[in-house]
Structures are given as C-alpha cells and as structure tokens.
C-alpha cells in the first residue's frame, strides 16, 4: 500500500489557453446568411439591379430636362433619340422620365403592400401561433376562408367600389394579401415556440409580448423575409394587371402598367419603344426580386448552414 505523496503532482505548463482561443470570428446567423448570399452571383445581381432602380426612381427624373406630365404635341410618338432617350408617347411626353416616375409608383406599391402584409401577418399569425388552442383554431378558420377567396377578383371588386387611386390600390392589395403572410408566420411560430430557449425565457417571467418580440420573431424571420421578397413582385404585377384593366393609377401620372396599357394601340403600327421600356423594367424588376428571393431562401435556410 503506497502512500499518495504531494510531489507526484505538479502544475501543467500554461499553454492550454492558446488552444482555447477562437481563431475565426464567430458567425451569427445573419452574418452567415449574408456570406452565403454573397456567393450567389445571380441573387447579388438582382440586389444590385434593385439598388440601381431605387436610385434612378429617386434621382432619375431630376436628371431629365423633360417633364412627366406636360404635353408636347408636336413631338408625339418620336422614336428614341439623343434628346428623348426612350422616345416619346402620344402626347409628346418623354418616356425616359415617365419610366422613372413609373418606377417610383410601382416600387412604392410593391414595397407598401409587402410592409403592410408583413405587419398584419406578424400580428395575426404571431398571436394565433403563440396562443394556440381554440384561439388558433378560430383565427385559422377565418384565414382559411379568406385564403379561398380569389385574390385578384376581390381586388378588382374593391377598386370598382373605391375608385382607382394609389391609396385604394394599396388597400385593395393588402386587404386579402396579408393572409399568406399570416399563415407562414403562424407555421414558424408554432415550430419555434417549443424550443428550450423559449421555455427558459418563460421561466424567467418574460411576458408574452417580450417573448414574441425577442424570441419568436427573430428566429422565425427567414421564411418571412423570403415571403416579403416574393410579395413585392406579385404586388407590382397585380398593379400592372389592374392598370391593364383600366383600374390603375389615373392620368397624367403613370405606373409601368399604365404605360404598357397605353402603348397597346400603337404597338401594331411599329412604335415599339412605348411598350418596350415599361415592359422591360417590369420584367427586370420581377426577375430581380425572384432571383433575390430564391437566393435568400437558400441563404436563410438553417439546414444549409455548413
């Protein structure tokens, strides 16, 4: 039976600390998502195009010497030239200037529709998903019925009643549009609310509002952002579609949809620029939002995190 002696033990050299230090910076969820998004060239192209579009929508009309609304009849239906880059329309108005004004209106409608959908959807879906039980069942039954209503038909009806204007178009688009967002938020909240950190929060006595704001929403954000990026182009398309039915923004102001609609009668006679430029920008914008949405979907998917 040997005795355990103190001199058997001696302290280890202090090099252990170095192995413990974190060499690479820790990536938060958002930083990681941004890193992955940057690798997706198509999505970044879309993002850059949208940035350019926003700048031109704000500053484009300032650079142009031509007015959006003042008619210049001697110069009607001119093809693109050095004075009128995109040509002129049947009232002699500069299509270049009008295209950027159209961008303002189309982007405004798209962004407002997405934002309003976002707030209503977060509130409604958040409460339904968090409360669960009977509240959820009743709230979701309402959503299910609203979801079954044909979206564009309801929008058309509302616009016929309210009369077309920028405000009424946005109202009409959001009055049934939030339903899709509410469903997604609810699904996400249902999933997230059972995680341990939510239980931990609750055991510290956090109130419902705080849990929804601090725990649920940030962790459910991925699919919600993707849904928003996809709402913008669909709202822009809906606005163009409504303009096409004569329910869009009223003259002399114009959105891209109105410009395309006005260009229809002259397209056969060969005045291609009237339709080409608004149509090109509608398509490019929808394309940019779609590829950006696709990219975000991959970037924000926690399963893809490597």
């Amino acid at each position: 039976m040997t005795q355990i002696r103190d001199d058997w033990f001696h302290p280890l050299a202090k090099d252990g600390d170095e192995k413990e230090t974190v060499v690479r910076p820790s990536l938060s969820y958002w930083k990681d998502a941004w890193r992955r998004l940057k690798q997706n060239k198509l999505a970044m192209g879309g993002l850059i195009f949208l940035g350019f579009l926003a700048l031109m929508a704000i500053f484009g009309p300032i650079f142009s010497p031509h007015s959006v609304t003042i008619q210049d009849l001697p110069n009607q239906n001119q093809p693109p030239s050095s004075t009128h880059w995109f040509g002129t329309d049947e009232s002699g108005r500069d299509v270049f200037t009008r295209t950027w004004y159209g961008a303002r209106i189309s982007l405004f409608v798209g962004l407002m529709a997405a934002l309003i959908d976002f707030f209503i959807g977060i509130l409604y879906g958040g409460i339904a998903g968090y409360k669960g039980g009977r509240t959820d069942a009743v709230m979701m039954r309402i959503v299910e019925v609203l979801y079954g209503l044909p979206y564009l038909l309801v929008v058309i009806l509302l616009l016929v009643v309210m009369g077309p204007s920028l405000m009424t178009i946005i109202i009409a688009l959001t009055i049934t549009g939030w339903v899709g967002m509410a469903r997604i938020v609810r699904g996400q909240v249902l999933q997230v609310k059972n995680y341990e950190f939510v239980t931990a929060s609750k055991s510290f006595g956090a109130k419902t509002g705080r849990i929804i704001r601090k725990n649920l929403i940030p962790n459910a954000m991925g699919p919600i952002i993707v849904q928003m990026t996809l709402t913008v182009p669909s709202a822009i398309f809906a606005e163009a579609f409504l303009s096409f039915l004569g329910l869009g923004i009223q003259a002399p102001f114009a959105s891209w949809g109105v410009m395309a609609n006005d260009a229809l009668p002259v397209i056969i006679s060969g005045d291609w620029w009237r339709l080409f430029f608004p149509a090109l920008f509608i398509s490019l914008t929808m394309f940019a939002f779609n590829v950006l949405g696709d990219g975000l979907q991959d970037a924000l998917d926690p399963k893809m995190r490597g």
Binding site: P150, V160, V161, L190, F244, L275
Partner: protein, 311 residues
C-alpha cells in the same frame, strides 16, 4: 375520405356564400344608383326602372332575392344592355374561355413537367441551366407583355399566326402560348426541385439496383411522388390562368367571358360585374375543392382528417 370530402364541400359552400355576400354589399356601397346616367331621365321612368330592378326595395329584401336567384344559378340582368342577362353572357362567353383555359393548363402541365424532369436528369449540366434560365424569364415576364411581344413578332412581323380572334387552331396558338408560359415556368421549377429530391431517395436506388430501366424509374417510380408539390400549387395556378384570361381575351379580341367582364368594369355595369365575379369565384372555389380531393387521392400518406397544428 368521405368525411374529408364532406368537410371540404361544406367549407366550399361557406366560401361561396361569403364571396356572394361580400360582392352584394360592396356593389351596393357604390355611391349613387347604378341607373344614373349623364342624361337626365324622367322621374317616372326612373321610378319604373328602379321598380323593375327592385332597387326600391329595402336592402335586406334585395339581398334575400339576390341570394335566392343565385341558388337557382340566376346571375341577374345587365343594366347597360337591358335585353341581356348575365346568364346569356355566360352561355356565350364561358365555353370559349373554358376552352382557352383548359388548353393552356394541359400545355403548361405537360411541357412544364417534361422540362422539369429533363432539367433534373441533367442536373448542373447545360440543359439544366438553360431550362432554369428559361423558367425564371418565363416567370418574370407578365402575360400581357408576352402577348404583345408574340403578336408583334409572330403575327405582324413574320405573319405566321393570325393576331386576333378565336376561330381555328391557328388562332389559338398565340393566346395559349402567352397564357401558358408563366404557369409552365413555375411547374418546371417545382418539378425539377422535387424530382432532384426524390431521385436521391433509397427506393429509387433500390429500383436502379434491381436493373429497372431509367425511363421506367422516372415515370413509374419517381414522378408520382415528385408531382405532389405541383398538385399543391395547381389551385394558385388555376386562379392565375383564370384572371390571366381577362387580359389575354382583351388583347386578342377573343369573345370570351373575360372580355365581357373587362367591358362591364369599364362600363361600370354593376349587375354584370356582380354576376360575373360571383360566377368566377364559385367556379374557382369549386376547382380548388377538386384539386384538394385529387391531392388526397394521389398521396395515400396524407392523413385526410387533419389534426390541429399541421397546416
């Protein structure tokens, strides 16, 4: 299954009832009488007209009358064209619109699925990139832009197809193409991604190991499962095609339901707007009901009596 169908059916009736009620009250919220015109009409004539259209009755009486006639599939008269009823417009226009819609759906589903399968089988090869580039462009171009481009190029410049109306199969090519491109692109993308997922699963490997021919694997074993997301989105696509017919019929001067609907909006012919909206909605909701049932039949794994919590 039976319980599920009954539940869905009741849900459908409920939705149709709500849209009909909503339409009725919205149309009566429009300021002024629908009979008002720029010309001043004799007061006695005005009163007689109001009596004829029952506008002198209290609102709830009008509502019940309206609901009663809807229940017997009577969608009411037209005000701008007193000799016509909405039912007559439907009889004349709907078969044409239906034809346009059905051909579009068949073309979109067939070509979209085929394109998606080809892209999935040639994953990350030139064909895949080409098909997906085509698909994103197809999704991004609105159908009315597509329609005008087609008319300008294929009808006016090259003179291959007639630019308007709906008379022979040649007349149908351009409108169907314009309407089908968007849905086709969406279906192609969906089919590709779900096909890619299905093809990596064990039962496909098993089938391959057994020496089953690749074509048979794709069409017999993989496709049925890969089609589920496509069936899910069919409802949305149907709605898109249905509203798409409005603009396509307007552009191509096709005398279908959509053209009458757009005309009625421009003329503010409220009873026609009301009748057509209710008809369209009911039709669409019925289609969604059918899609739901097809979905249930196609995928035996889906529990048809859903519990709370799984949407």
């Amino acid at each position: 299954m039976g319980r599920y169908i009954i539940k869905r059916f009741l849900m459908m009736l409920m939705t149709i009832f709500i849209i009909a009620t909503l339409t009725f009250f919205l149309m009566h919220a429009v300021p002024g009488s629908p009979l008002e015109t720029e010309r001043t009409t004799n007061e006695a004539i005005q009163a007689n007209l109001e009596k004829f259209y029952k506008l002198d009755q209290p609102l709830y009486v009008q509502y019940f009358d309206y609901m009663k006639s809807l229940a017997t599939f009577d969608f009411g008269p037209s005000i701008k064209d007193p000799n016509r009823t909405v039912n007559e417009l439907l009889e004349r226009g709907f078969p044409i619109s239906f034809e346009l819609g059905i051909i579009t759906i068949i073309i979109a589903v067939l070509s979209g699925v085929l394109l998606g399968i080809l892209a999935a089988l040639r994953h990350n090869k030139l064909l895949d990139y080409g098909a997906m580039a085509f698909a994103v462009i197809g999704i991004s171009i609105p159908n009315f832009v597509m329609a005008t481009l087609l008319i300008q190029q294929l009808a006016v410049t090259w003179n291959i197809f007639p630019p308007a109306t709906w008379k022979s199969p040649m007349h149908m090519v351009l409108p169907v193409l314009a309407l089908a491109t968007g849905p086709m692109a969406i279906i192609a993308r969906l089919t590709r991604s779900s096909m890619l997922e299905v093809l990596t699963q064990d039962y496909i490997k098993m089938a391959r190991a057994k020496g089953i021919k690749p074509v048979r694997i794709v069409f017999r074993h993989a496709l049925r499962n890969a089609m589920m997301p496509v069936v899910t989105i069919m409802g949305t696509l149907l709605a898109g095609i249905l509203t798409g017919t409005f603009v396509i019929e307007k552009i191509f001067a096709i005398p279908g339901m959509g053209k009458y609907f757009v005309d009625s909006i421009n003329n503010r012919d409220y009873p026609v707007i009301m009748g057509t909206t209710v008809f369209y909605s009911a039709f669409l909701i019925f289609m969604l009901f059918l899609v739901d049932i097809v979905y249930g039949i196609l995928d035996p794994r889906i529990k048809l009596h859903k519990k709370e919590g799984d949407v």
